[in-house]
Point group: none
Chain length 140, copies 4
């Protein structure tokens, strides 16, 4: 299984924040994790709180553990409530079933990590996450 490099993670992060600036979003926290869900890089913009960092990281982690976006996790939640209730505790609260986390795939479609964005509306968080991944030449 291939794995995101720090260079790729930094590029995704930079592109995501560029997009956020262009969209005029609130201060954001952005986390990039590898395919195992372990942090590779994170940035907290001036004015963003510490809890946003935790949320951004949890969004990214959630994607890697279920192999889907955190928006999709929200969509399937009603069909597996018991699984997700237990998983939430087993993950120490690090599951977020709302938009803002997306998978990062390489050109062959293999999952190499995930990005989580938190600080604006969940839809806006997700929009810049997707834009960031794609601007870095990777896929969601």
């Amino acid at each position: 299984m291939s794995k995101i490099t720090l260079e790729q993670a930094n590029q995704v992060l930079a592109e995501t924040l560029n997009k956020a600036a262009e969209m005029g979003l609130n201060p954001l926290a952005v986390s990039v994790v590898d395919a195992a869900g372990q942090i590779v890089a994170l940035q907290r913009q001036d004015g963003a709180s510490d809890l946003l960092v935790k949320l951004s990281r949890a969004k990214a982690y959630s994607c890697t553990q279920f192999g889907i976006s955190s928006r999709q996790l929200g969509e399937i939640k009603p069909s597996i409530p018991e699984i997700l209730n237990s998983a939430q505790i087993l993950a120490d609260g690090n599951l977020v079933a709302a938009p803002g986390g997306v998978l990062i795939r390489d050109q062959d479609g293999a999952m190499i990590g995930a990005i989580g964005v938190s600080g604006d509306t969940s839809d806006n968080d997700e929009a810049c996450a997707i834009a960031g991944v794609e601007a870095a030449g990777l896929k969601v």
Copy 2:
């Protein structure tokens, strides 16, 4: 109390993964615990996440503590909500009230352990768990 042997656990595990391959399921995590709920063997297939391991183990553990399958735990949940809320915390989140965990009984019907499967739909998880136990010459 009789107790599942490592040899039996490995056989159940192998048969479960054989069945999963035959059914073409997603990458799975499978855990086998003894009658005390303690892990005997586990395997995580390539591409399955760490959280799936925890869920598979929790499914198996849940069976042993209540003496029923994790599907049945979901069925009785509405009748003992307060007990299960407390038990979930006491078990550190290791209760899963959804299909995928089944008891393992010997030929005399005595509970000797349990198996938990996680990674596909809960119904499919359970189907291969049951098939794995039976193919190993044991009962659910």
Copy 3:
């Protein structure tokens, strides 16, 4: 970074237990983790306790986080006591600075995971771990 497969992990595990039988060791717990320190497979032999499982897993985890064997971690401990004291807490107690955990490398020398063995003397634990890795065609 390459990553150990379940097939490789199972082979290492089987070879390790073969060696243990040949050496006539006490009941063992054996854990194989990937390069990120996450569990891939584990087996607890009949008569081995649950805490041995935790120790075997912690030995394997320790190797991956420091990129050395758990024996070597014990050797460098006197030179970095403060780092290891903090790391022990940050790792929730999952560091073991004693023999029994060794890295698993592929033919090119890249770390793909680690194995931890617990149940006999630390030297014997380590001896079968090394024998198991090598018998599976991998390197420590």
Copy 4:
């Protein structure tokens, strides 16, 4: 209280990793926190483990809570052993009384944050941390 900006944190991080490359160090984890000890930015180099991230962050955190470098924390430890024993627990293991964490001060000498580096020897970790802060036009 003035506070490090994300732009400054990123610059310190980049300069620290430049210095590490120049020195030929092992893969590092580097964390930058603000004066409150909360994470602003972190990067984990390819090949560095997750536990190194936690250690780097703990080194940076330690500096901000005592207003000294993590090396100095090690030096004063013998004089306040009971305080530090309690503090270690209260800080969930996030105190590291060994080199690798240094304060980040602005041109007026006001503490605006701290950086923690982990992955090579503690002395080397600290050397690049100091070089990184100074190359970014700030003071330790």
